[in-house]
């Protein structure tokens, strides 16, 4: 599904990712954890193709294609989805209209028939209902004046409608209370299947109680410094990231000598 190999990324001339490698197979859910400033959000942005994140070394292969040669819209059409940490408001643009335009742009690009307004609205209402989202949010401007929780639900609604092959969830849990966290997680879990993969980027382990990952990776100083199963996340929760820094330091010391 996804193969990231020795990825080096600079932002404003500053190295953020320094040799990150990660392979995700179909149907897998990977959690990426790590301290602030480790490069977690950079990973999400690079995958989605945001300007200003310059890949200076390494490669990313997505479903057999070279992801780095594709624009953000082409990546979306190929089946990649990024749930934003801070979803962006677009004043004056109707939420349902936005989503339908995006969905149909993707369908047309893939040679599928467009979904008509009625068919779309029926589907959107169902999905919104499952996320316990107020129908009215569909008729408001995209994320404009939405609460933090409404924005995150809206991201998951988009994901449910767009049905991506690979979803990258960037700190989707931040700013959610316990109930909202449960609802959003259930929404994500409903989308898990053997063909769809996910990368869940999070700071806290509590999200992983709801979305149980197949693998957990720890990102520190631009690289993955530890990988393991769900128990790794629990260890991080109990012991923090400090032990990793020590391990990292001792490794650097070893390399220097």
């Amino acid at each position: 599904m996804l193969k990231i190999d020795n990825l080096h990324v600079e932002v404003d001339g500053k190295k953020i990712l320094k040799g990150l490698s990660l392979t995700v197979e179909p149907g897998q859910v990977h959690a990426v954890m790590g301290p602030n400033g480790a490069g977690k959000s950079t990973l999400g942005n690079v995958l989605a193709g945001r300007d200003g994140f310059e890949v200076i070394e390494g490669s990313i292969e997505f479903l057999g294609q070279d992801l780095l040669t594709m624009g953000p819209d082409e990546r979306a059409i190929a089946g990649l989805f990024l749930a934003f940490q801070y979803p962006v408001a677009i004043p004056g643009v109707n939420n349902a209209y936005f989503l339908r335009t995006a969905l149909n742009a993707q369908r047309v690009a893939r040679g599928e028939p467009e979904l008509d307004a009625m068919g779309f609205l029926k589907m959107a209402r169902e999905q919104a209902g499952a996320l316990e989202m107020d129908d009215k949010l569909l008729q408001r401007a995209v994320n404009d004046g939405f609460s933090g929780g409404e924005k995150k639900r809206n991201e998951i609604l988009q994901m449910a409608m767009l049905q991506p092959r690979l979803a990258v969830l960037d700190e989707t849990d931040s700013g959610l209370d316990i109930d909202a966290l449960r609802i959003v997680s259930e929404g994500v879990n409903r989308l898990r299947d053997a063909q769809r993969s996910m990368i869940v980027i999070t700071h806290y382990q509590r999200l992983l109680d709801h979305i149980v990952p197949d693998l957990v990776h720890v990102l520190a100083d631009g690289r993955i410094v530890a990988s393991g199963d769900k128990s790794l996340a629990l260890k991080l929760e109990q012991e923090g990231y400090a032990w990793l820094r020590e391990a990292d330091l001792s490794e650097q010391t070893r390399m220097a000598s």
Partner: protein
């Protein structure tokens, strides 16, 4: 030489200079009283109107072109302009769409202009444009039944001189400003609308349907009178680019709303903006003003300005009647090297008068866009209220947006609110749209249309749809 002698000389020059030329179609470039007499004679105008023009011209001679706007206006040589040329003969026009510039046709296609309209807009000979003639005929019958007068300004001078004489120049006096004075002296044609008392005009009035509106030329004059309790919605212009050889345009529009009357005036202006290097393009200096004379009268201006190289335009309302209200909704877009200095004046004179200003400026490329607005509350305008919101959107890094709000209030009970924002089309917003599968142009168009929504919803339905398409076409190549 005495004054009388000078006048005599001028008269005789007129007589001898132009008598033989009176059948000619064009005057040579230049402007003097002879030219004005020629225009007036050519149109068969009554003496009072000739005098009115001359008085405007004499005033104009004492004036200088305004330079306070944030515009870089090249010097205009007013003696190099020809002030009268008769409409082209049918035989000189393109005889079919095959003879029309393919680029123009391509734009019509993008805007979705109906096939039968394209020929007329492209200036194809009228014989070939049969559809619009029949539309006009049915339209005129319906209006006549309601007692509405809707005709060219020249026709109004002939058929309804008492109305023209009563109202012409009462809202925009001949000496109001440099360009209004020039227009008053040399205007060639325009539109006239009269809505009788208590009549709700049965349809939107559009210059689109007035077949002779196409050749009204560069100095257009419009006068709209809404009698007590009447209502009219007037649409000026057209989203499709029209052919026009004249570089300088200086129109005057006067609206008069009597007691309980309402006038909605919508404009879409899409004249040639010049090329991507800023060469060519129309200079548009317009004076538009409405007089809410009667109590509870209402005037609303909505404009979508995407064309012209230079736009200088401030549709305004004089809120004279008690409880009268004025509104101004504007979208102005400048791309490439276009410049716009536009806004409104709301003059509160009556009690409980209300005004509302929503201005949306969009700058792309090297475009410069200024909002300039005055809210004035006179001493007697108790409890006047104004709300102003002006938002600017920047696309790219070379363009500019400027806001010049002026507030003058001499009544302590006035309530004036002003909100302003400037934002750059967010890379965040663009990336967000693209990450959902939208290409860059679709994303920009969507964001810009969202930004303009409050104004577009004031436009009549079909006009709003056209305006949206127009913004998309006007912004092509704005990003990337």
């Amino acid at each position: 030489m005495s004054n009388a002698q000078i006048e005599q000389l001028i008269d005789s020059r007129y007589k001898h200079g132009f008598v033989t030329d009176i059948d000619s179609d064009t005057v040579p470039p230049g402007l003097d009283e002879d030219v004005i007499r020629f225009i007036s004679a050519k149109k068969g105008e009554p003496e009072w109107l000739t005098e009115w023009r001359l008085q405007a011209y004499r005033h104009w001679l004492t004036m200088t072109a305004p330079d306070w706007a944030k515009l870089d206006v090249p010097a205009i040589d007013f003696q190099a302009i020809s002030y009268y040329s008769a409409p082209k003969k049918e035989s000189d026009k393109p005889q079919s769409l095959d003879e029309v510039d393919p680029k123009l046709l391509e734009t019509y296609d993008k805007l979705g202009v109906p096939l039968h309209e394209r020929a007329r807009l492209a200036g194809v000979a009228v014989d070939a444009v049969f559809d619009s003639v029949s539309v006009t005929t049915t339209f005129k019958e319906k209006l006549a039944d309601a007692g509405v007068i809707f005709c060219s300004f020249s026709e109004a001078v002939k058929d309804h001189p008492e109305l023209v004489k009563k109202y012409l120049g009462t809202v925009v006096p001949t000496g109001d400003n440099f360009f209004a004075a020039l227009n008053s002296a040399v205007f060639t044609d325009g539109s006239f609308v009269y809505i009788p008392e208590g009549v709700r005009c049965p349809m939107e009035l559009s210059t689109y349907f007035r077949i002779n509106a196409i050749n009204t030329g560069q100095f257009e004059r419009t006068l709209i009178i809404a009698e007590k309790g009447s209502y009219v919605s007037y649409l000026e212009g057209c989203t499709a680019p029209m052919r026009d050889e004249n570089q300088l345009h200086a129109a005057v529009v006067e609206l008069i709303a009597l007691e309980d009357a309402e006038i909605k005036y919508s404009t879409v202006q899409n004249w040639y903006p010049g090329d991507e290097n800023g060469k060519g393009g129309i200079y548009n200096f317009v004076t538009k003003r409405g007089d809410c004379q009667g109590d509870r009268s209402r005037i609303s201006w909505t404009q979508v300005e995407t064309g012209s190289a230079i736009t200088w335009k401030y549709p305004s309302c004089i809120l004279r009647g008690d409880d009268s209200s004025g509104e101004f909704y504007s979208v102005a877009l400048t791309h490439n090297y276009q410049q716009a200095d536009t806004g409104t004046k709301m003059i509160h004179l009556g009690k409980n008068t209300k005004s509302r200003i929503i201005s949306k400026g969009i700058s792309a490329g090297h475009g410069q866009n200024s909002y300039r607005g005055l809210v004035k509350v006179a001493k007697g305008a108790d409890k006047a209220r104004n709300f102003t919101q002006c938002d600017s959107l920047l696309i790219g890094k070379q363009c500019g947006a400027h806001t010049f709000p002026y507030i003058e209030s001499t009544n302590p009970s006035a309530q004036i609110e002003h909100e302003a924002t400037t934002s750059r089309i967010g890379e965040d917003q663009l990336f967000y749209c693209q990450s959902r599968g939208l290409d860059e142009e679709t994303a920009v168009a969507m964001i810009v249309n969202g930004f303009c929504k409050e104004v577009f919803q004031e436009l009549p339905m079909e006009f709003a749809v056209e305006a949206r398409a127009l913004l998309e076409v006007s912004l092509e190549g704005a990003v990337g």
